[in-house]
């Protein structure tokens, strides 16, 4: 195995086609609503492979508009780095009683 170029940690995200909910790509090719359960990418080779999986899921009408986002990973606690993606993952910051942050984990902003 050749040494892979290291890149910033990333995960793939998209919206699920059937209901539009934000999802993240897992290592096994399934999609999850929890960033913690997603497949964290640490190399360009892996990003290429995961992109192919994400694109195939879009082609198969499972998700819409997949794209990679940068994340931090502290002992398995995977969090998007940007505010926009944090709000996508856990928000909205208003109406917490209605939002998915109550169904997933409250990560704060």
């Amino acid at each position: 195995m050749t040494e892979e170029e290291q890149v910033a940690l990333k995960i793939f995200t998209a919206n699920r086609l059937s209901d539009g909910i934000v999802v993240f790509l897992c290592g096994d090719g399934s999609w999850t609503e929890a960033p913690d359960a997603s497949g964290v990418i640490g190399s360009t080779d892996m990003e290429t492979r995961m992109k192919a999986v994400a694109d195939a899921a879009e082609e198969a009408a499972i998700v819409v508009g997949p794209y990679p986002i940068e994340v931090s990973n502290e002992g398995g606690d995977v969090r998007p780095l940007s505010l926009r993606e944090s709000i996508r993952a856990y928000g909205p910051t208003t109406h917490p009683e209605f939002a998915k942050q109550s169904a997933v984990a409250n990560k704060g902003y």
Binding site: V22, G65, I87, P92
Partner: protein, 556 residues
């Protein structure tokens, strides 16, 4: 209230079934997202930050209690139990599922509602004065003309692919409550010296990244020519509006680039060719639509119940509410009641399903079973007996919809911002919440007086920040939320565009900045002078000096 005829109903029902088939094909993977996106947008379905968003049109902001109950039922059954009223007098659902959207649209169709043309490069929901048919200062009911325009502009075959979206607003009162000067076409009813009523036609207003105030294209247009004139305007725009750059595609840019005189000549030439054709409005058709907006069966004028005045004096909270949130009605013995959706802790424009049901019940009890949505994201009961004000206030108080803050600093227009919108750069709703909290003392708000504050989370300006006496625009500075402040905007009959006061403020500092602006106003105002009047008299200098005591201290 206009009721669909058989043709209207069939058109909407068929559209639902068309969309049902399109959704099924999309879910089955038979069409791609690129192919599907324009189809869903034509039916008001966006894909936003978290989920799909369905924008439901409410023509000229008018709802029956039955329609509101249906919106409640839909939001409970298919969404998360609430809806968001917008600056185009629409309702947005933030969490509908694609697979259930056809069922939502079918349920809407049963109460004569739809989401057609609430997105895309088409005519958008026609808006009007929320006091139409009730306002004491009204020349004529603007809903009649908004409805005629709605019928003309719905699925108009020649204008189904405009250069860009197109917004029309109508007011029948000289006091502009519909922000007509910030619309692609603004229509103002006027009475000529000989008593004839007609229209002033404004063109080229708009907000967004290039805010412009509409200019008068024609000072007086006889009623029968309304549609032919609009047709001529749209033909010229459709032909000459730019399609090479979406940021320069609105009609305001065409007005700017051609000049109002040249554009007027082109439109008038076109109009002269068609004005006596099939679009000339027969009086019988005007009468038919007018009948649909007949006044409700008002009771004969009667004095307020003997106890009302006494209780009013004993009840300062009720008194404040009457003074601030109740407007004069043209029918003696009646009043117009504004329901504030901007109470402390509320998200501007949001209403839960339970609240929708309760408001629907109260509209049945107190306002002939109808209500209005305002472009300022509040609700209106247009026809309330003055004698019923106290019991209505008591009922609305239990729903926390009586905050006496209409047109005050906490009556904030606020877009969904980065909490929901995929276009936003920064959050809006939390900023509105923090301002409401900071200024929650109603005595203080009343001392400050009329001060219209408007917040947008990006330059697209859905929160009308350019038209705010104080405007706040969210911007992204290297991943951080910053807020640019404008002063001196106004959406009324003396419309103005707010001026950027200086460098943007951090999220932590923006509330203090608003506080500083208000404090400065309180120091400089003359007796009885509103914030806007003070600003227009003195200008930005004292505000700027107080906000930026050291040059660029807040530069980001």
């Amino acid at each position: 209230m206009y009721r669909y005829d058989e043709l209207d109903q069939r058109l909407v029902d068929e559209r639902v079934e068309q969309f049902r088939d399109q959704v099924a094909r999309r879910l089955a993977g038979e069409i791609t997202e690129d192919e599907f996106k324009p189809l869903r947008l034509m039916n008001g379905l966006y894909l936003q930050l978290h989920a799909y968003m369905l924008r439901i049109g409410i023509p000229y902001g008018m709802l029956t209690s039955t329609q509101l109950r249906t919106l409640a039922e839909i939001s409970r059954k298919y969404d998360r139990g609430y809806g968001h009223f917008t600056t185009r007098q629409c309702l947005q659902l933030n969490w509908p599922k694609l697979e259930e959207t056809p069922d939502i649209l079918a349920q809407l169709a049963k109460v004569q509602m739809h989401a057609i043309q609430t997105s895309g490069n088409s005519f958008r929901n026609v808006t009007a004065d929320q006091y139409a048919g009730a306002a004491a200062d009204e020349i004529e009911d603007s809903r009649i003309w908004a409805e005629i325009i709605r019928q003309w502009s719905t699925l108009h075959p020649e204008f189904s692919f405009l250069p860009r979206k197109f917004k029309i607003a109508v007011t029948g009162s000289p006091h502009d409550r519909a922000a007509v000067r910030f619309h692609d076409i603004g229509i103002v009813l006027h009475k000529a010296p000989d008593g004839e009523i007609g229209f002033e036609i404004l063109i080229g207003g708009g907000l967004g990244r290039t805010p412009m105030i509409g200019q008068t294209l024609r000072k007086f247009l006889p009623k029968k020519h309304l549609l032919s004139y609009l047709e001529a305007m749209l033909r010229i725009y459709n032909l000459m509006g730019r399609r090479d750059n979406k940021y320069k595609a609105r009609i305001k840019i065409l007005v700017f680039e051609l000049g109002i005189d040249e554009l007027q000549k082109l439109i008038e030439d076109e109009w002269n060719e068609i004005k006596d054709g099939p679009l000339a409005l027969p009086q019988a058709e005007i009468d038919r639509i007018t009948e649909q907006f007949a006044a409700p069966p008002f009771q004969a004028p009667a004095p307020a119940s003997p106890g009302t005045q006494v209780r009013k004096l004993d009840n300062p909270a009720f008194d404040d509410w009457v003074r601030v949130n109740v407007a004069e009605h043209k029918q003696p013995g009646y009043a117009i009641v504004n329901l504030s959706l901007k109470g402390l802790g509320r998200v501007p424009g949001d209403l839960t399903a339970a609240e929708m049901d309760s408001v629907a019940d109260l509209s049945d009890q107190f306002s002939f079973g109808e209500l209005r949505v305002t472009h300022e994201q509040n609700l209106v009961f247009a026809h309330v007996l003055e004698a019923d004000l106290l019991p209505l206030w008591q009922s609305l108080s239990s729903l926390e919809l009586t905050t006496p803050n209409l047109n005050m600093i906490s009556d904030i227009i606020c877009c969904p911002g980065l909490d929901y919108c995929s276009l936003a750069n920064a959050r809006s709703i939390p900023v509105a919440g923090r301002i409401s909290t900071r200024f929650q003392d109603l005595k203080r708000q009343h001392d400050i007086g009329e001060l219209r504050l408007k917040i947008s989370g990006c330059i697209n300006a859905c929160g009308h920040h350019h038209a705010g006496h104080i405007g706040i625009l969210g911007v992204d500075r290297s991943g951080e939320e910053y807020y640019q402040i404008t002063l001196g905007g106004d959406a009324g009959e003396n419309a103005s565009i707010g001026k950027v006061i200086g460098p943007a403020f951090s999220s932590d500092d923006v509330i203090d900045a608003v506080e500083t602006i208000v404090a400065t106003y309180l120091e400089i105002r003359e007796p009885g002078e509103t914030f806007l009047a003070s600003y227009r008299r003195i200008g930005e200098k004292p505000f700027k000096e107080r906000l930026y005591p050291e040059p660029n201290h807040a530069a980001a």
